[in-house]
């Protein structure tokens, strides 16, 4: 009984490792496709619209909400130490270094990542990918590459918007609601955030998360089983895998970069 469990675990682990290898190779194919003409700008624009513009609603609302909560919680904690004038710095640094890239990554995974997997999976199930191959059109170049690249481009932009909205949310709560001085909030923020140490790391993180979601979402879609259940499984798998990877990579990047 125990032996079966261990063997099963081993098989699961081997499966995961194989999936990582397969995904890496897939990533290589996507990069190779970027290097080949034609540019597919129309597709890229369409994908930026689908992944970026259509995610704005959730990103902006969440950003504002998170900023307001941070403002409230931050104030309540800082006021015990008489340090409430540092609220701007606390809200700003928390968002810029961690919450901005990570929450944006998770939200985009849920919205745009799963949509991408579902769309690609549906194309696989209805033989559209085969149709492309028959016409000697590389499905990776035609469908996958624009989606993956769009996610990479869109993530840092959405993250920046999330952070700005959150800072505004913190301002609303701290200044309008709780009576902090607006100037103190902003100058505390500006004096404690450094471009090189904080902003660059934040943008780098969200760019890496974008690449991760782009790779995982398109891979899962492309490899989905050719039926409705398969597409559904693939979509769930994207959300789970991408979310976990974002959180893991967040730790690794933070540890290495010192963000």
């Amino acid at each position: 009984m125990m032996r079966e469990r261990v063997t099963h675990l081993g098989a699961v682990a081997a499966n995961r490792i194989e999936a990582v290898g397969s995904m890496t190779r897939f990533g290589g194919l996507i990069l190779a496709a970027v290097a080949r003409p034609p540019m597919r700008l129309n597709s890229l624009v369409r994908e930026i619209y689908d992944t970026g513009v259509l995610s704005l609603a959730i990103i902006l609302t969440s950003g504002l909400a998170v900023g307001m909560v941070l403002g409230l919680q931050g104030y309540n904690t800082l006021v015990r130490f008489g340090a409430e004038s540092s609220l701007g710095a606390v809200v700003g640094l928390t968002l810029i270094r961690e919450l901005g890239p990570v929450l944006t990554g998770l939200l985009v995974t849920g919205r745009a990542g799963s949509a991408a997997t579902a769309e690609i999976g549906a194309m696989v199930a209805t033989e559209q990918m085969d149709g492309l191959r028959l016409m000697s059109i590389d499905p990776i170049h035609f469908v996958i590459m624009p989606k993956a690249i769009a996610l990479m481009i869109v993530m840092p932009l959405l993250s920046a918007l999330f952070i700005v909205l959150s800072i505004a949310g913190g301002y609303l709560v701290g200044v309008q609601l709780l009576g902090l001085d607006g100037g103190a909030y902003l100058s505390s923020l500006e004096n404690n955030v450094s471009f090189a140490d904080d902003i660059v790391g934040s943008l780098l993180k969200s760019w890496i998360f974008g690449a991760l979601v782009g790779l995982i979402a398109t891979y899962r879609g492309y490899m989905a089983a050719r039926n409705a259940a398969g597409v559904s499984r693939a979509t769930t798998s994207t959300v789970v895998t991408a979310s976990v990877c974002i959180l893991l990579f967040d730790y690794v990047i933070t540890a290495l970069w010192g963000v």
């Binding site: 559209q128 149709g131 016409m135 590389d138």
Partner: protein, 258 residues
């Protein structure tokens, strides 16, 4: 013929069938699908591939199209052995092929016009005017009109198949593969599509290979019929197959007409 490609190297020798499978075996995992299938499809004729569910009819078409590689055996398409070729090496052979997939396999996000124009835009350097004329010519050839701006989701079953057919022939292929072209169609549409396929075959000299369950249309249009059974395959004209007196023939082709 597409203006920018030399296809002389892939024309079959005189008398050689357009498509020939020899001893082809294919298993998905440990499930055998094609078991030593040997058959050929004569050039310029309409061939029907029949067999029970799961005997590998669709898989055979996919093997011919190079979409899936057999575990062993030889597959010659338009005078060229395609087993063992890499994806990009199949491009020249695929220029000779058009495929009508069971559900059309049109790209959902593009209009009918853009779908049919796609092979021209990607594989040729025709001007937009030439593309427009070629596309409209094919739309007319399949008996449709005024469908340019519709999306695939807005098309009825019969219209969908015709649009997919128009796309399949837009590069003037020599071989047309049709996977269950009559599935999901009501009887009048079955007759229309059947007549269309026969007409195109005659007009354009196409080798047409279709998979089908339809007994009547197989008899009507099938100049050459191949029956796939798990252990073997039988090929010939309907008259020849009837003459065999094999009970399995009657299962698929019905009783011989009196």
């Amino acid at each position: 013929m597409t203006g920018s490609v030399d296809s002389s190297s892939t024309t079959p020798a005189a008398g050689e069938a357009s498509v020939a499978l020899n001893d082809v075996c294919l298993s998905f995992g440990d499930r055998p699908v094609l078991n030593r299938v040997t058959c050929s499809f004569p050039t310029g004729a309409v061939s029907v591939l029949m067999g029970g569910s799961g005997t590998g009819k669709s898989t055979t078409l996919r093997v011919i199209a190079g979409l899936v590689a057999p575990n062993s055996g030889s597959v010659r398409v338009a005078g060229r052995e395609i087993v063992g070729l890499r994806e990009f090496e199949l491009a020249t052979t695929r220029e000779q092929l058009g495929m009508l997939f069971q559900n059309g396999a049109l790209l959902d996000s593009m209009t009918v016009f853009d779908n049919i124009a796609l092979p021209l835009r990607e594989r040729t350097d025709y001007s937009e005017e030439k593309i427009r004329s070629e596309v409209h010519q094919r739309i007319e050839a399949v008996g449709l009109a005024d469908v340019d701006d519709l999306l695939p989701g807005e098309l009825s079953g019969g219209m969908l198949k015709r649009v997919a057919l128009a796309r399949a022939i837009v590069l003037d292929p020599a071989i047309l593969l049709c996977d269950e072209p009559f599935s999901g169609l009501d009887p009048p549409n079955v007759l229309r599509i059947e007549a269309l396929l026969v007409r195109l075959s005659k007009q354009l000299g196409l080798t047409v290979i279709i998979t089908s369950h339809h007994v009547e249309s197989s008899r009507r249009m099938g100049e050459h019929v191949t029956l796939l059974f798990p252990e073997e395959s039988l090929s010939g004209t309907t008259a020849e197959l009837d003459a065999l007196g094999d009970p399995r023939v009657a299962e698929f082709l019905g009783a011989a007409p009196v």
